[in-house]
């Protein structure tokens, strides 16, 4: 097992870290897209997130790790069970590697058992493994189209339906989609773009001291990862506790009418399509408030998370030289005052 670079040791890239943490506080925020320059630690951050997630309760013996508390969303096997014994399991963070084939993603007939014993058995795929956790796609813009279509469907319904090789299986597959990529390799299909709750743009830090610090830490980690992890253990534990507390506190965070109106006004000002932007903005702001230990959503929360929640929902205007993030910030400044 290779050592994973600790989340708290990532220098800068505050918006990316915040978006990931917000998605971890409330998985219902709906995914994070990280787009930007090469070598900015996009995949490092996503992989590091796994180390922060508090364990969750799951039904013993269930291969989809069903939530014993979720009555409506149990898999067929769990629905048939009389008693749901549960235990603690880690939240899965599953990689969807490039070049993956469809059978591995959605699940398929178990070849081994079929060929050697003549049994017809379902072998769950990556979507099943990612249930209740995170599905990470690096270079998401290079993903093959037919896999994108599959993902879109499952992400929309929260259920994976497999009809192949005479198998007919359905199982819950609710996961937070995390994608990263470099816009120079190509744009992302708008349908997929829309599936991500938050979208952040990362750039290589421009100031020298930050750049020096990034390289120093990376070098220290590579030369002696055990010592490096030990040095950051305290910070990691603190962040882990804070995340766990935020998840508990989430339902206690109030969303006052004023905040709802603010969010609606902002979305109207920007002309975002549909209601999804507004809902995500509110939900993300609530998760942020919880992470900050606040009891109610206010302007400060909305302001901080608005660019991430809205920038990928604006109508494109290729002649506008400013990025869409800047447009959101401009609208925020106009509406909320400087």
């Amino acid at each position: 097992m290779r050592a994973v670079y600790p989340f708290s040791a990532i220098v800068g890239q505050d918006e990316m870290k915040l978006a990931l943490l917000v998605a971890a506080v409330d998985q219902g925020v709906g995914g994070v897209l990280v787009f930007g320059d090469r070598g900015t630690g996009k995949s490092t951050a996503v992989r590091a997130l796994a180390g922060l997630l508090p364990p969750m309760r799951a039904v013993v013996g269930c291969r989809y790790r069903c939530d014993p508390g979720a009555n409506g969303a149990l898999c067929e096997e769990c629905q048939a069970r009389d008693k749901l014994a549960s235990h603690q399991v880690p939240v899965p963070v599953v990689d969807l590697p490039l070049g993956a084939t469809e059978d591995r993603v959605v699940g398929a007939l178990d070849l081994e058992r079929a060929l050697s014993r003549g049994e017809k058995a379902f072998e769950p795929g990556l979507l099943a493994r990612a249930h209740r956790g995170f599905l990470y796609i690096d270079e998401v813009n290079l993903l093959e189209d037919h896999l994108v279509d599959l993902l879109l469907d499952v992400a929309a319904t929260g259920e994976n339906v497999v009809e192949r090789e005479g198998l007919s299986v359905r199982h819950p597959a609710r996961f937070v989609l995390v994608g990263s990529g470099n816009p120079e390799e190509g744009e992302l299909r708008p349908q997929l773009l829309d599936r991500f709750g938050l979208s952040v743009e990362v750039a290589t830090p421009g100031d020298l001291p930050t750049r020096v610090e990034v390289v120093r830490r990376r070098d220290a980690f590579e030369r002696d990862s055990a010592a490096f992890l030990a040095r950051w253990e305290k910070e990691e534990t603190r962040l882990r506790r804070r995340l766990a507390a935020a998840r508990k506190h989430l339902n206690g965070v109030a969303v006052p009418d004023a905040a709802l109106e603010r969010a609606a006004a902002l979305c109207m000002e920007l002309g975002t399509d549909g209601l999804r932007g507004e809902l995500t903005l509110i939900r993300a702001a609530r998760a942020l408030a919880s992470f900050e230990g606040d009891d109610a959503v206010d302007d400060a929360h909305l302001r901080r998370i608005a660019p991430a929640a809205l920038r990928h929902r604006l109508r494109r205007d290729p002649l506008d030289e400013a990025g869409s993030g800047t447009r959101v910030e401009r609208a925020v400044a106009e509406l909320f005052g400087a």
Partner: protein, 590 residues
Amino acid sequence: MTGDAPTGDAPAWRDASLAAALFAVDPAGLGGIALRARPGPVRERWLADLGRLLGFGLRKIPPNVPDGRLLGGLDLAATLATGRPVAERGLLAEADGGCLLLAMAERVQPGTAAILAAALDQAEVASERDGFGSRARARFGLVALDEGVEDERLPAALLDRLAFAPDLAEVSLRDGDGEGVATPAQIMEARACLDRGVGVPPDTVAALCAAAHALGVTSLRAPLLALRAARAAAALAGRDDATPDDVALAARLVLAPRATQLPSPAETDAADESEGQQETSSEAQSGQNEERDGTLEDRVLAATSAAIPQNLLASLQLQRDGRARTRGRAGASQVGGLKGRPAGARRGDPRAGRRLALVETLRAAAPWQRLRREAQPADAPRRIEVRRDDLRVTRFVQRARTCTIFAVDASGSAALQRLAEAKGAVERLLAESYVRRDQVALVAFRGRGAEILLPPTRSLVRAKRSLAALPGGGGTPLAAGLDAAALVAEAARRRGETPVIVVLTDGRANVARDGIADRARADGEALSSAKLLRARGTACLLIDIAPRPRREGAALAAALGARYLPLPQADAALLSRAVGEARDRTLRAS
């Protein structure tokens, strides 16, 4: 070790040899080498030297290697022989502890490049294919051979991860008759030395970062790779601690080829300043280093900058030359009955040129094995019984893709404003068409020749970057412009795309192909170029951008067989709509 330079001044060869030696010390740590050279004795000699230093052979992979071979999947022979699924290791996992040689790396697909890049980053390879999921160690170095003599380059995702990028394109065999820079025995010792750990001067990271910054190298992988190269250089010299010389050498080899700008004096000052700030903010670090701080940083920057002028200017020159050259691309055209992306499988006969989907076929056959075996005599050999009904073929989806090529008249006779509109239209088209994954390219002609400003791309970001500085003014070398557009169109056709050429001009040619101003000859040449385009059956649209359109535009359109659209008042929106319509018509016709 920089001492034994071969007779005659051949810094390119010496740097390439040094890069090979450092890479041999720490192949996985340094990621690899992107060697730019034409196939020939020079490259062979360099590869042979590298192989000797490494002490093991390089595993060659072709640029069109299928994902399945790279990542691993189902072992067909073993599966059929044993009657149970057997996994096959992929090339990346097999390369663990060794080196891969990627031939014709400039033609590698983005998907393949991304897989290689992920394996280089993770030092392991994750595969989810054909019924198997695996994670295997894959620590390897990659030698990418870049034969791109024209405007093709290695994918940036790979270049970013390979420490060195020596250029042997202009080196002849005579340049390399000096002794090698290292012996295999030295490499072995250096590896042991590196394992024990090599220290670096405390201000090394700051100096490397500052140098990278001053040279316009944005990726943070560059200083990190330079740092590792400095350690390898010290190890090669048998030192437990790197000296400023090692650091300077590493910076020269790693950073100089990545430079995008020459350090300006102002920038160097700014770097010093921020360095100073950092010094005061982190008081914990020893303050008496301040004096040496400056020197190391200066030395690194000086050593790197000294290597740049020829490097940067030469490569820029090379690119320009390559663009102006009107010669067909090297490499076979990739035409085959099986194009497009695989999109699942369906029942069917794998003859008639369709490709068998092996795993899906086995899956279809699997449930029946017991029944079918029982029907066989008891002493029949145990093997998988596959019936015709089980056969599955891979389905490929081929979208009708277009490559829209703008040939823009940037001469003095076409108003400068036209350029802005053309730029706007290109960006708009890209933004609107990215769902369809269409490509857009831009050729500009002005002065004495034509230039491919934007090779076919579907990246809005790239387009914006290359369009930002589009100069205007000068004569109208119309024939050269049409020829360049035809060249891009041919390349697109070979990739299986449908090219559409959009010419924005007033049609008043006044510069001939050889760059001499001669209106009559220029006109004749333009018309013959146009006829050639028409003969190839390339769809064209001519937009006459003259304020008062005259007959030249219409005549050129007729020669091109193009739709003629006089648009004296066109703005970007109108333009992109017209082009969109032309493209759709072409698609329907094809």
